[in-house]
Amino acid sequence: MPEQSAIVLEPANDFLFFVQSHTGENIASCYQCGKCSAGCPTAYAMDLTPRQVMRGVQLGLKDEILDSSAIWLCVSCQTCSLRCPREIDIAKVMESLRLFSQAEGRPPAQREIAVFHSAFLRQVRLFGRLHEVGLTITYNLLSMHFFNNIKRLPGMLARGKLKLMPQTMKGASEVKQIATRVKELERKSS
């Protein structure tokens, strides 16, 4: 735990404004009851609980939030959003924070998760559908956990749960086009 200096509050809280305007969620209305954290399945593993993430946004602590592992450990199970007494869609905010963090090119605090996501999408972009063996291999290469899940592969192959060759289909080309169009549209919008 690095030494912490006192929080310096900016009179103009740009980060709060930014997050609120992009998510359409009134984060300022959070009164820190912690019901989100209490029901969060992964909160125990987070560096900041979801409640603390909301607080951080309220105080405009951009770096702490966008570099936190919390935003990456959120599994979007929606429990927090379902129960929030202030009706804040916390899961949605978490998702947006992930996107902001990436947009700023910050190294994700949970590298493996980010790597998994990109490995996953790579598969989809390639074949239009997910190819699990491919995913496992790509992921392991990218994450440098070469033998992750390998010990389970034989068992699964034996039970015919995994196909060694990816299935391809017309859709694959479609997806490539979609992906490229998405990239263009996003470039335009930003």
Binding site: C33, K35, S37, A38, C84
Partner: protein
């Protein structure tokens, strides 16, 4: 030909500093019908008022314009002034040269020009003023109190002791309300029944109070001082003259059903009194559940198997007080004032699926805990958990259930939960020293005399562990309840294996609070809490004269506040009832019978039901205004197509002339 006097006030430099007063005076003198114009340093001062009185006499003025501050400030003052000079007080008009002119404009030229216009408008209007005379109406010196909880009890006792007749209407078989269900009260921990019961008895014995239990208000007609109320008296099936309340019947009754008073934790007979100290201490028969009544129902059709005839109660009654011939009846009574004290019910926690939604027997409400702790309760004061009747050791309290929660449409704070939970923590420890209490809270709100000290006591002395956070989920795990929360002060998750979970359910208005409000024509908010005339300055009055509100039907309150509130409402009612007649504001609307075509568009828009149908001598049905009900809003005037209705003090002609003096060429 009227002679108008205009008096322009400098208000020190407040007006004079910006507006060129002498110039306004000169302009005023040249205005039509103005016979006299003068200026004062301070018109509201005794000197200033004297100068007006003198001028009225010397100049034989018959109308007066005072150009000074806002009429909201001094209109009444100056009405008295002109009255003492022998003029009708309604022959006065004011021009607002201060709030609306000198205080908001800095350019003297513009301000003076505007001041002159304002005076001109006032002159034009006052020329069309008429002498108005407030009316006197009689009143019935009786009060109706709706609701027999602690608030209604207090109000009834106070009004009755002031010497006025009171009818107290309570829908349950006994008065006492929620307070009767409580075991002890914070922060003093005195026994609720011990302090409430004497008051209940006072009510039953007070010569000025008529107690109508098992009754409901159905319809209200009339207006302040002269209400006419239909009251439904539900059939009790017991003759209270004969009944001695010996109790044979309710002991003998073979049927047992869940007791409303014990919130389902205990059972009661079908011929019953809700609780031992009930007032009146005489039973009613709950017809829906009575075996014999069911038999009688069957008798009519003879469909299906024949249910048993019971009538045991009748057998054991020594005074033959059971009277099956009784039917619901409506009685109509006259009142001068009405106090509404319909109270609250606790929030139904079953909407919280994450807390089991009522599936887990050992997740109970605080009010249920009160019943478990009460010596007169289903467990005779032994705190035993509902599922298996063992003494709970780990007890978790959850605050703000149905309070401060937009998700369930209850964003408001219920005010009492923090305190009663602290009370429960203290008392559970007294009941059983081995109990460990955990209290999940968001904020501890202990504003009130000795409250904070008491809330501290729960933590400091009885070792209750307070955890700042809202519980997210409860689930059954074997005989334990797993409670998932966060200690937001540490930022760490907390899991507790509880034997019993108590939900601090918030307050919401009793059922049909809105229906009652509609019958009384008083307003209520989105949660059905009744709305007072002014949240600070008129806390027990309503927009409808003669109807007062008190207690938790207005908003969450604790017992001392309710008692004070009930007393306050009583005081207001007494002030009203102690008058011999009521003066009505003459600024009301009135109908020109010749113009009215009887379309009653006016009747539809009138918020106060002040428009009545009247048959003229030549047999036409036309509107007429009940001036005691009319509040002078003027909606009817605008609605009236033939222009038959007009509003005194704001007639069409007056408004028009104001406009014309301004823009007319």
């Amino acid at each position: 030909m009227s002679r108008i006097g205009v008096f322009i006030c400098h208000c020190g430099t407040n007006i004079g500093g910006v507006v060129n007063v002498p110039q306004v005076v000169e302009a005023a003198k040249r205005m039509p019908l103005v016979a006299y114009a003068d200026e004062n340093k301070y018109t509201c001062s005794e000197v200033g008022q004297a100068s007006i009185r003198d001028a009225i006499k010397e100049q034989r003025l018959d109308r007066v314009v005072i150009a000074s501050c806002s009429p909201r400030m001094h209109e009444n003052t100056f009405r008295r002034t002109v009255a003492t000079a022998g003029l009708n007080p309604y022959l006065l008009e004011m021009a607002n040269l201060r709030e609306h002119c000198s205080w908001v404009h800095s350019d003297s030229k513009d301000a003076t020009a505007k001041a002159i216009d304002l005076v001109r408008m006032a002159v034009a209007k006052v020329a069309r003023h008429e002498s108005l005379f407030p009316k006197q109406v009689g009143l019935t010196k009786r009060a109706l109190v709706i609701g027999g909880g602690i608030t209604g009890i207090q109000a009834a006792l106070d009004i009755a002791s002031a010497g006025h007749e009171v009818v107290l209407v309570e829908k349950e078989p006994s008065i006492g309300g929620r307070m009767a269900q409580l075991d002890k009260t914070f922060p003093t921990l005195d026994c609720s029944a011990c302090i409430l019961t004497p008051k209940m008895v006072d009510v039953s014995q007070h010569p000025n109070i008529t107690l109508l239990t098992y009754s409901e208000v159905k319809e209200v007609r009339g207006f302040v001082g002269n209400f006419e109320v239909d009251i439904l008296k539900k059939a009790k099936m017991v003759d209270y003259v004969k009944c001695t309340g010996c109790g044979n019947c309710w002991q003998a009754c073979p049927e047992r059903i869940p007791s409303e008073f014990d919130l389902g934790l205990g059972r009661r007979s079908v011929i019953y009194i809700p609780f031992a100290q009930a007032v009146p201490n005489k039973p009613v028969i709950d017809i829906a559940n009575c075996r014999y009544e069911r038999y009688l129902k069957w008798k009519e059709t003879e469909e299906g198997p024949e249910p048993p005839q019971c009538r045991i109660c009748e057998g054991v009654c020594p005074t033959e007080a059971i009277d099956r011939s009784q039917r619901d009846e409506i009685v109509t009574e006259k009142f001068g004032a009405i106090v509404v004290a319909t109270g609250f019910k606790t929030f139904d926690y079953s909407v919280y699926g994450e807390y089991g939604g009522g599936r887990y027997p050992d997740v109970i409400s605080s009010l249920q805990l009160e019943r478990l702790m009460s010596a007169a309760g289903p467990t005779e004061g032994e705190v035993l958990r509902p599922s298996d009747g063992v003494h709970p050791k780990n007890v978790v309290f959850i605050q703000c259930v149905g309070s401060r929660d937009d998700k369930v449409g209850r964003p408001y704070c219920s005010k009492v939960c923090c305190m009663y939970t602290a009370k429960h923590a203290v008392m559970l420890k007294e009941h059983d020293p081995e109990v460990q209490c955990y209290v999940f809270y968001i904020d501890v709100r202990a504003g009130g005399k000795d409250f904070e000290e008491f809330a501290r006591r729960a933590q400091d002395e009885t070792g209750a562990v307070y955890l700042r956070g809202r519980v997210s989920q409860i689930y059954q795990e074997g005989k334990k309840l797993k409670v998932l929360g966060e200690d937001s002060l540490m930022g760490r998750l907390v899991e507790i294996d509880a034997d019993l979970v108590v939900l601090a359910t918030g307050m919401e208005p009793s059922d049909n609070a809105d229906v009652i409000a509609q019958t009384l024509n008083i307003s209520y908010n989105t949660y059905n809490f009744l709305i007072e005339a002014h949240p600070k300055l008129r806390p027990v009055e309503t927009q409808t004269d003669g109807i007062f509100v008190a207690g938790t039907c207005v908003g969450p309150r604790d017992i001392p506040d309710c008692v004070a509130h009930g007393g306050a409402a009583a005081a207001k009612a007494v002030v009203l009832l102690s008058q011999d007649s009521l003066t009505t504001d003459p600024l009301t609307s009135f109908v020109d019978p010749m113009k009215c075509v009887g379309c009653f568009a006016c009747k539809e828009v009138c918020p106060f039901n002040a428009i009545e149908e009247q048959i003229t001598r030549d047999g036409r049905t036309i509107s007429s205004v009940n001036e005691s009900l009319c509040k002078g809003c003027g909606l009817c005037v605008v609605a009236c197509r033939p222009g038959a209705i007009n509003l005194r003090g704001f007639t069409n002609q007056q408004l028009l002339s104001e406009v014309l003096t301004l823009v007319g060429r």
